[in-house]
């Protein structure tokens, strides 16, 4: 039987018996086994059912990462209700917009987290969210069970076709979209990436991403359940604390943030720690030098909220064939990729265009939007990403469609300019975008140099690496990556970056 048939509730039941004693989730010093997860979510689902949740409810979860987050989310899914993960970073107007878009009926919220009084903020927006009937605080959830047999009967009704979650995503400057995933496409998407991501049963994977975003929810929480793996997460921690956590928990796979891996490798505690449990699919910086892959030889696993995480990749412990270096690997089972031109026609191998995806792992839809507004007639979703497929079916990413711009009639892809700058020994990190200069677009770059390169040094170097029209004419030298303007989601704030670069100097000799 396909794993998605009984939905998430079916998987929870299977793990509670088949992997009963294995830890499902470890959070700092706390942990919960699959048997305990099964029992706690069953009991809470019974109480949720008694409090009125059914398949037509949509339940917001506004909590920080932790075991309680997972228990609440999985209990919601056992009633058949749809889960709406909400970021604890949302400001009240953003929270109101997402509650309304998803028509949230019930909300589970942490009263206070990191100096934010979430209950007060919810009270502020509640009059403008007519769908919202009930707000529970995370430490005072319903406890009276529904009458005998009701919760089980509701759970039995959950199928792969039912909605599992509405996940909010934003582009670099877009309005948030509520992406709807069914139990079926979520489970299939998570399962399709396990091999490339080197995640097998019993694996102990460190993925510190927040559960309220796709990285933590799809690629972390749901992936671990589908794989029968143990998910390791931490609260905010220092590199030394993370090293101790990885050592103690015998982590087999480290898939944290790249910047975080670099900081850990640079920490004095790193050299004396026993991290021999870590497998070769871990981020390179944290691996022993002799096991570290040559830069550029592994695939950049690639995905998006609309595909419930990665839809493209190649085994992270194996080098790509030379011709495929720089690619994102190949599309996983359950996703078809097609490259489209501006008129929606398919482009051939090697030809660049917009990446479009379809298939059983792709989202069901977006809240408030008609299917015909989201998908082409033959079922493709235009991702807004640029790229090409090579003759062997490897996908190469070339940036966002709405990031590309024209300079003197020629197309510039910021990702291409960034890649050229990253190849320079003078550059540690580069962020490229278009900047308006006397009414016309020009290329701007914010750079964290490796050493003490000046704007003129960087400019001269870039002229050796790029066609004249692609060479940045506006430069900002940053002391640290932390100086790059970012959105609450952690993505680069393109508008902020443009503002930074508009006032940045021109190198000597550069003309607009």
């Amino acid at each position: 039987m396909a794993p998605e048939v009984g939905g998430i509730p079916g998987l929870l039941r299977a793990r509670a018996t088949g992997s009963a004693g294995r830890a499902a989730l470890v959070h700092d010093d706390a942990s919960i086994t699959y048997a305990e997860l099964g029992a706690r979510t069953r009991d809470l689902a019974g109480a949720f059912a008694g409090a009125g949740l059914t398949k037509s409810s949509r339940v917001g979860v506004l909590m920080p990462n932790g075991i309680d987050w997972a228990v609440v989310a999985y209990a919601v899914s056992r009633t058949g209700a749809t889960l709406v993960p909400l970021s604890t970073l949302l400001r009240p107007p953003e929270l109101e917009a997402q509650l309304r878009q998803a028509s949230v009926t019930h909300l589970v919220a942490v009263p206070r987290y990191r100096n934010r009084f979430h209950l007060d903020e919810i009270a502020e927006v509640r009059p403008r969210v007519p769908s919202l009937r009930v707000v529970w605080t995370a430490d005072d959830l319903p406890s009276d069970p529904a009458p005998r047999g009701i919760a089980e009967a509701l759970e039995e009704r959950v199928t792969a076709a039912d909605d599992l979650a509405i996940l909010f995503t934003s582009g670099s400057r877009g309005v948030p979209k509520g992406v709807i995933h069914t139990h079926g496409n979520a489970i299939r998407a998570a399962a399709s990436g396990l091999d490339a991501r080197c995640i097998g049963p019993g694996e102990r994977i460190y993925i510190p991403m927040p559960f309220f975003w796709t990285g933590g929810f799809a690629s972390g929480l749901i992936t671990a359940l589908v794989a029968g793996a143990t998910l390791l997460i931490e609260s905010e921690s220092t590199p030394a604390e993370t090293i101790a956590f990885l050592e103690r928990e015998r982590a087999t796979l480290f898939r944290g943030w790249p910047d975080q891996a670099a900081r850990i490798a640079a920490d004095p505690a790193f050299s004396s720690a026993d991290l021999s449990s870590l497998g070769p699919g871990s981020l390179p910086a944290i691996q022993p030098p002799e096991q570290r892959p040559t830069p550029g030889t592994r695939a950049n696993t690639f995905g998006m909220t609309e595909t419930f995480g990665p839809y493209c990749g190649s085994r992270l412990d194996t080098d790509l064939p030379p011709s495929a270096r720089g690619s994102c690997g190949k599309p996983f089972d359950g996703v078809e990729v097609r490259i489209l031109d501006d008129n929606g026609h398919e482009r051939g191998p090697g030809e660049q265009g917009e990446i479009a995806v379809r298939g059983p792992n792709v989202m069901r839809g977006i809240v408030g939007r008609l299917r015909s507004e989201i998908f082409t007639r033959d079922g493709y979703y235009r991702t807004g990403d640029l790229g090409h497929l090579d003759a062997d079916g490897y996908l190469f990413y070339a940036g966002r469609v709405d990031d590309m711009f024209k300079v003197s009639g020629a197309t510039v892809y910021p990702s291409e300019v960034e890649a050229a700058l990253h190849a320079s020994p003078l550059v540690a990190r580069a962020f490229v975008t278009n900047v308006s200069d006397n009414g016309a677009d020009t290329v701007g770059a914010a750079v964290v140099p490796s050493g003490d390169a000046t704007v003129d040094d960087l400019y001269a170097d870039a002229r050796e690496r790029l066609s004249a029209f692609k060479v940045p004419k506006r430069w900002a030298v940053l002391a640290s990556v932390d100086d790059v303007p970012r959105l609450a989601t952690g993505k680069v704030d393109k508008t902020g970056l443009q503002a930074l670069l508009t006032s940045a100097p021109r190198p000597t000799g550069a003309t607009p």
Binding site: G52, T54, K55, S56, S57, R58, G80, R100, S103, T105, R128, P130, S131, R133, A146, P147, G149, I150, E152, A153, L154, R157, T159, A160, A161, D162, T182, G184, E336, R358, G359, P360, R364, G365, V367, G368, R369, L370, R371, S372, F375, R377, D378, G379
Partner: protein
């Protein structure tokens, strides 16, 4: 208005007024139509009627009551009513706040009703108390053992685990039933929710929200819950109205039940989109139906001709003035000058639940040339069609029989409980299961259900083709089907509808002249009309008919 002397009015683009800014939610539509048409009657059901402004006002009150008991966007609201204003008000109340209406067949037995409520995960049920011989309170009691109308709500039932509330009309003053279970409870509680709250809820309803779950009648399998979205279903009805020239000048007579797609979409929703009127009669005696027709003077007709076939037998029929009905397909009750001389030379229409009503047809109401007899025209606006080989999926050439596939924005969102990939292929085509061939000019001709295609000794036989030959050359109606056979897989069998004996030897000889040998039926049954096994939906019960052959 069209002149009543002419059989078919000239159809030009000027005769149709398209509303470019059609409201794409029920919420917006109910407000717009009430402003536009006020006290004009939206529906007339025998002696009851409902005006546009009443539809808005009464549904607003009921909607406030539904909000008071916890309904909102996505709540599944079951509707168990015959064609009466109460159906309209309940449906509008639910869908104008974004809840999903789930009309339920009033023919349902207790077992079927429990099954529908469970499959559709219905949260609340609004029901008539009774209709004709049906006592729904009694049926519901058998369907849901835990339902106790003498005890307070909510309901907790493992049979229908999401159903919490049931509201039954017309049981006020009944001591045995507490207030919680009365439809009037919703009106009583409407006061808890003020107009601002209703308006705020209505502002959140989107064309992308699901509007209704209509069940297929389940002639060959268990009923499937077909989900249609607000915007697509409304726009589709507008397209179909343009095609059939249904404007706000028209009054439609249609007796199709509103819990199935023909009644719900093509009759009720279509009338509201048009700003027209809808007349129906639940009366079982012909004279009462005729009274309604003479009084209301509908201009158009639609439905199954069988539903009015008994009416011309009424002794008063000849003296009735039915001259108002100029167009449509209920030929038995239409005046002679508005009827086609040969109904077989008019375009047919194909409707299906999954397509939100009609999917094949044409706006041409003239007589067809003989070679186009039986044509269904082509796909209606917004739908694409193609014919493919049922076994290989390869597109058929003109003339070849294959399965009709449809695609487009007005098809259903999907079936409840079924994943999209189980229903649509990768290119988003929906296989209808209906067999058609297309001629060189794009006209579609029906050959029965794909499941009905008889496979005998490696050859495919279209039952429809054999039935056509039997009708044309023997003057007999028949049902042709495949009977399992140990050597040939299936053999062709024919059930002949006749009150008299049939000379089977002569018939067989005649058929051999007109059909390839493998198409000539090997087995025969002669049945009187009333011996044909039928489903409650009025469709042939093919399985029972096969059993008759097996027992013969």
């Amino acid at each position: 208005m069209f002149p009543t002397e002419e059989a078919a009015p000239p159809m030009t683009s000027e005769t149709v007024r398209c509303e470019d800014d059609l409201p794409l939610t029920v919420t917006a539509l109910v407000h717009r139509r009430a402003e536009q048409y006020g006290t004009k009657r939206l529906v007339v059901c025998d002696d009851e009627s409902l005006t546009y402004v009443e539809a808005e006002r009464d549904s607003a009150e009921l909607a406030r009551g539904l909000l008071a008991v916890g309904a909102g966007k996505g709540t599944r609201v079951g509707l168990l009513f015959p064609n009466t204003p109460a159906f309209v008000v309940s449906w509008l109340a639910a869908t104008r706040i974004g809840a999903v209406a789930v009309p339920l067949s009033t023919f349902s037995t207790a077992v079927e009703l429990a099954d529908l409520l469970r499959r559709a995960d219905v949260d609340m049920l609004l029901s008539a108390r009774s209709f004709r011989s049906h006592d729904y309170v009694e049926t519901l009691g058998r369907a849901i053992p835990e339902l106790d109308l003498g005890a307070p709500a909510p309901l907790w039932s493992t049979t229908v685990p999401s159903l919490r509330r049931v509201f039954v009309s017309d049981i006020h003053g009944d001591d045995a039933v507490v207030d919680d279970w009365q439809l009037d409870e919703l009106r009583r509680r409407a006061g808890e929710v003020d107009d601002d709250v209703l308006a705020a809820v209505e502002a959140e309803v989107s064309p992308a929200d699901p509007m209704v779950v209509v069940h297929t009648s389940g002639s060959t399998s268990a009923p499937k819950g077909v989900v249609h979205g607000q915007g697509p279903l409304l726009r589709h009805q507008q397209n179909l109205n343009e095609r059939r020239h249904f404007t706000d000048d028209e009054i439609l007579f249609a007796n199709s039940p509103w819990f199935w797609i023909g009644g719900f979409a093509y009759a009720l929703l279509g009338s509201m989109v048009a700003g027209g009127g809808l007349v129906c009669s639940n009366a079982s005696d012909a004279a009462t139906v005729l009274d309604v027709l003479e009084r209301e003077r509908p201009t158009m007709t639609n439905g199954f001709a069988a539903s009015v076939a008994h009416i011309p037998d009424d002794p008063t029929f000849a003296g009735r003035d039915l001259s108002s009905m100029r167009r449509g397909n209920l030929y038995p009750i239409m005046p002679a000058d508005a009827r086609p001389a040969d109904p077989g030379l008019r375009y047919n229409m194909l409707g299906m639940t999954e397509a939100g009503g009609v999917c094949l047809g044409t706006e041409d109401e003239t007589e067809l040339p003989e070679e186009r007899r039986g044509s269904f025209g082509g796909p209606v606006t917004g739908l694409e069609s193609r014919i493919v080989d049922p076994d290989t999926g390869v597109a058929c050439a003109p003339g070849e029989v294959g399965v009709l596939q449809l695609r487009g924005p007005f098809l259903m969102e999907g079936y409840l409980g079924r994943e999209r990939l189980e229903v649509f292929d990768a290119d988003q085509w929906y296989p209808t299961g209906d067999l058609f061939h297309v001629d060189d000019a794009g006209h579609h001709y029906f050959h029965g259900r794909a499941g009905d295609m008889i496979k005998t000794g490696g050859a495919n036989v279209s039952p429809r083709e054999v039935e056509g030959v039997i009708a044309e050359h023997a003057g007999l109606r028949s049902h042709v089907l495949g009977i399992d056979d140990p050597t040939k897989g299936q053999v062709v069998a024919a059930a002949l509808l006749s009150d008299d004996d049939v000379d089977l030897e002569q018939l067989r000889t005649m058929l051999r002249d007109h059909l390839s040998a493998y198409k000539v039926p090997r087995r025969y049954l002669v049945l009187a009309d009333d011996e044909v096994p039928m489903m409650s939906s009025g469709k042939l019960d093919a399985r029972a008919l096969k059993d008759r052959f097996d027992g013969a």
